[in-house]
């Protein structure tokens, strides 16, 4: 199966090269058969990558310990659930998994548009094939997942051998979210290849701007949604597994995932300027390019070892490959832009500084500043090594100081944008639109202050959350009121109808609502407290309004690990709230490898987060580290709303058709019934 897998990947590489070279020839000659054959080569590439990936999965599931990758990342006792995660837990597997996810996108595009956009698709096919060639080069020639174990004899002869068992999966990855988080994040990274391919193709083919934007809008939203979910799942995994009490540590790998998300979010906003006003064409093209390059750069940072990270892959030789690919991509983008930039001229002018257009520009500015600030902070230690004799670390305190004000400014614009009209907003309209949201924002800050959330940044955040929330409520209320008046439906049903008629706009507002919840949760971090204590059985510790009592401890043998478990009773006053079971897990396979399982009692107000931190080396008693983290649950709830909003935005609009129908009215004259046109609503989809 390893030879088979290896062969399919090699064949996939050949097909991708044909799709690339043949595609360029097809663009030049415009020969229909050549166009068709290169498209089919593109599809064949994807199918072969699927087969190669399933071959590796088969080797993992069949415990084939003649394979180096299987030995390094799996063992016999590993459950089938986590054997799936073993597929991307190592460098080679994760690169193959990247090709696999990219192939899903590529085959979907090639099949979905096989009879459409004849002028554009050959270019798109070539660009996608180019990206696939790069990853297949890594899969085949640099980091192949199909390497057989062999002994080398004194005479230099290789003798294959089979290990009895493997080293097992990294304990940190043996957590359910780790089976979902990487595929989501990778789907985000790879998904941004599609808008990139369309943008570059449109630039090369001088294809009308609105068309490629329209074609790729949903692909971008899908990629963005995966990226958002991936980031949030990663944050939740860090929170629930790493046991340091937080969810975001500004680690280089976390930062790498945030970079394309920031530029992608900027693009999703500025794209509206191009669709509606024919403006910001150059900006949008470069935002898409930048998003794709950030995906590649993020992968480079994660895997090259250029920056140290707690969960970066080990140092490897693939760094130069990624740098070369990024440089090549950048050169192609620049050449395409310089050659065809005249076709990206703006069609309209700006009527007023106080308009939605301006708010989009400033929104984009902030997202980009955030992206560059994170990038430069992440790379700063490398710069210091180049220019000074020593390396200077840049950790969480730096990023918090820089990013909190930027985040708050973005939140402010989230509320301001919908309140401003396209083209120009009058002073009267501003007064009318801003009064209530500002009042609600102020009320939110006062309530937060009364509830003892007293921190300057947090209070500003609560004020802005209230402000944005009320703008969203107003947007729904105004639209729903009109529909309710015309149709006679209730306000809630009208709001639903409103959202379904313009899913993109109202889906966007739902996403904004989710972001408000996330910001509330983030503001809670200003009030985190923690206590660490060495505890004997029966001892207690105070944590805010709670008392934690260490009741007992036990050992729980499982198939792949043995858990040492503390049983901690959580009391509030004299009332028992619940029992928590923080664990330390000793995994088989890897020598003495330990994992943590945090126990969390989560409410909307706060999380009681208990970690069994280990045994005190002096007293040999368990050490319990407990955190009181306010409002964390709002972050995960916000994430759910972000996903729901994106799904809503992806749905087609429901049309409200005005239908003239003859309705019999009570007869005015006894001669004949009057036929009067009446307006009814009929649902449809566009």
């Amino acid at each position: 199966m390893d030879v088979f897998g290896s062969f399919t990947l090699l064949l996939a590489f050949v097909c991708a090269v044909y799709a690339f070279v043949g595609g360029i020839a097809a663009i030049i000659t415009r020969h229909p058969l050549l166009i068709k054959s290169t498209r089919q080569a593109g599809i064949a590439t994807c199918v072969l990558i699927f087969i190669g990936t399933f071959s590796l999965a088969y080797l993992l599931f069949s415990d084939n310990f003649s394979q180096a990758y299987v030995v390094s990342h799996s063992n016999r006792d590993l459950s089938a659930f986590y054997k799936v995660a073993a597929l991307w837990s190592g460098q080679e597997g994760s690169l193959l998994f990247w090709s696999f996810l990219l192939a899903i996108y590529v085959i979907s595009v090639l099949i979905a548009y096989r009879h459409k956009n004849g002028e554009l698709m050959p270019y798109v096919g070539v660009i996608l094939a180019g990206v696939q060639i790069f990853f297949l080069t890594l899969n085949n020639f640099v980091e192949s997942p199909f390497k057989t174990l062999a002994n080398v004899s004194a005479s230099g002869v290789l003798t294959p051998f089979i290990r009895l068992d493997g080293n097992g999966l990294n304990p940190l990855l043996q957590y359910p979210e780790m089976v979902i988080h990487p595929p989501n994040l990778y789907s985000g990274y790879t998904g941004f290849t599609i808008p990139f391919a369309f943008a570059l193709a449109a630039l090369l083919a001088r294809y009308p701007g609105e068309k490629w934007i329209h074609l790729t809008r949903k692909w971008t939203m899908v990629a963005w949604c995966f990226q958002s979910v991936g980031i949030l799942l990663g944050a939740h995994w860090a929170y629930a597994v790493l046991g340091w009490g937080g969810y975001w540590g500004w680690d280089p790998v976390e930062n790498a995932s945030l970079l394309p998300w920031l530029t992608g979010t900027a693009f999703l906003h500025s794209v509206m300027m191009q669709e509606k006003r024919g403006m910001m064409k150059v900006w949008n093209v470069w935002l898409v390019f930048a998003t794709f390059l950030m995906c590649i750069l993020g992968t480079f940072l994660t895997r090259s070892g250029v920056v140290s990270s707690v969960h970066a892959f080990a140092n490897s030789q693939i760094g130069p490959w990624f740098v070369s690919f990024m440089a090549l991509t950048l050169i192609v983008c620049f050449v395409a832009y310089i050659k065809n930039h005249d076709y990206l001229k703006s069609e309209n002018q700006l009527d007023s500084m106080v308009s939605r257009e301006s708010s989009f520009l400033f929104n984009n500015l902030l997202f980009l500043v955030a992206c560059i600030a994170v990038l430069s902070g992440t790379l700063f230690p490398v710069f210091t090594e180049w220019f000074t004799p020593s390396r200077i670390s840049v950790g969480a305190p730096f990023f918090n100081k820089i990013m909190i004000p930027i985040g708050l400014a973005i939140l402010f614009l989230t509320g301001v944008g919908p309140l401003l009209a396209w083209r120009k907003t009058s002073t009267d309209s501003m007064k009318r639109n801003f009064t209530w949201p500002l009042a609600f924002g102020a009320l939110s800050a006062v309530v937060a202050y009364v509830l003892n959330y007293r921190n300057a940044y947090a209070l500003v955040c609560f004020f802005l959350c209230g402000f944005v929330f009320w703008t969203i409520v107003m947007e729904f209320y105004r639209g729903a009121k009109v529909i309710a008046a015309r149709s006679g439906m209730g306000l809630m049903m009208s709001a639903h109808e409103l959202a379904m008629r313009n899913t993109r706009r109202y889906g966007g507002y739902v996403v904004h609502f989710g972001m408000v919840l996330i910001f509330i949760g983030l503001a809670g971090a200003a009030f985190n407290t923690d206590v660490q204590k060495t505890m004997n059985l029966g001892d207690s510790m105070k944590l805010g309004p709670y008392t934690l009592v260490l009741q007992t401890a036990d050992t729980k043998p499982e198939k792949n690990y043995t858990a040492e478990r503390m049983i901690v009773e959580v009391m509030k006053g004299n009332k028992q709230i619940m029992m928590l079971y923080p664990e330390k897990r000793a995994f088989q396979g890897r020598d003495q490898a330990n994992g943590t399982m945090v126990a969390i009692y989560s409410t909307l107000r706060e999380d009681v987060y208990v970690v069994f931190a280990g045994m005190d080396p002096d007293t040999n008693l368990p050490v319990i580290h407990a955190f009181l983290n306010p409002l964390v649950k709002w972050i995960w709830l916000g994430g759910v709303w972000v996903v729901m909003g994106t799904l809503l935005a992806l749905m087609p609009n429901r049309r409200a058709a005005l239908v003239l129908s003859a309705v019999t009215q009570p007869a005015v004259s006894p001669v004949a019934p009057a036929l009067t046109p009446s307006v009814t609503l009929r649902e449809g989809h566009d």
Partner: protein, 166 residues
């Protein structure tokens, strides 16, 4: 009179007894504040005061040193110097606001200022740019008397339809 004097003495003694507690709290706060600016050197990349590895010899020793220096009344600069001498500049959790590291702090501000200047420049250019509209003799007339070509009207209608969609 004696009673009042006794009462004053009692308050004075009580205040004196609370002072060490306040001082201790201030010391603890100072340790937390200064410790938040350094990384634990065990390789966990966590802030010194947040390193949660039980038995981590590095954070325990570093925190003990920090506590001693704070109790001795050393200034933050002196403490920083001592840590940097011991571990090198990788001990910083955030770059110092001096020398080459100032670039790290200045960069985001510079990006914002440059970006804002660029946005304002773009906006001003967009606002100045004249809109090319073909004019027909028989075209409809606006309120101000300007004539509008049928193509411009059609474009306007299409634009209005587009802009009122969302």
């Amino acid at each position: 009179m004696i009673k009042r004097r006794n009462l004053l003495a009692l308050v004075f003694v009580a205040a004196l007894s609370v002072l060490p507690l306040i001082a201790q709290q201030q010391q603890t706060d100072r340790v937390k504040a200064i410790g938040g600016k350094f990384q634990c050197m065990c390789g966990c990349s966590q802030v010194l005061t947040q390193c949660n590895h039980v038995g981590c010899t590095m954070s325990a020793a570093m925190l003990k040193n920090l506590g001693d220096w704070v109790n001795r009344g050393d200034s933050e600069a002196t403490i920083t110097q001592a840590f940097v001498q011991q571990f090198g500049t990788t001990v910083y959790a955030e770059p110092p606001k001096s020398g080459f590291s100032l670039i790290a702090w200045g960069m985001p501000i510079a990006y914002f200022v440059l970006g804002a200047a660029l946005v304002l420049f773009v906006i001003s250019r967009w606002r100045k740019r004249p809109q090319a509209v073909g004019v027909d003799a028989a075209a409809p007339v606006t309120a101000s008397g300007a004539k509008i070509s049928p193509e411009a009207m059609e474009r306007g209608r299409a634009q209005a339809a587009r802009e009122t969609e969302d």
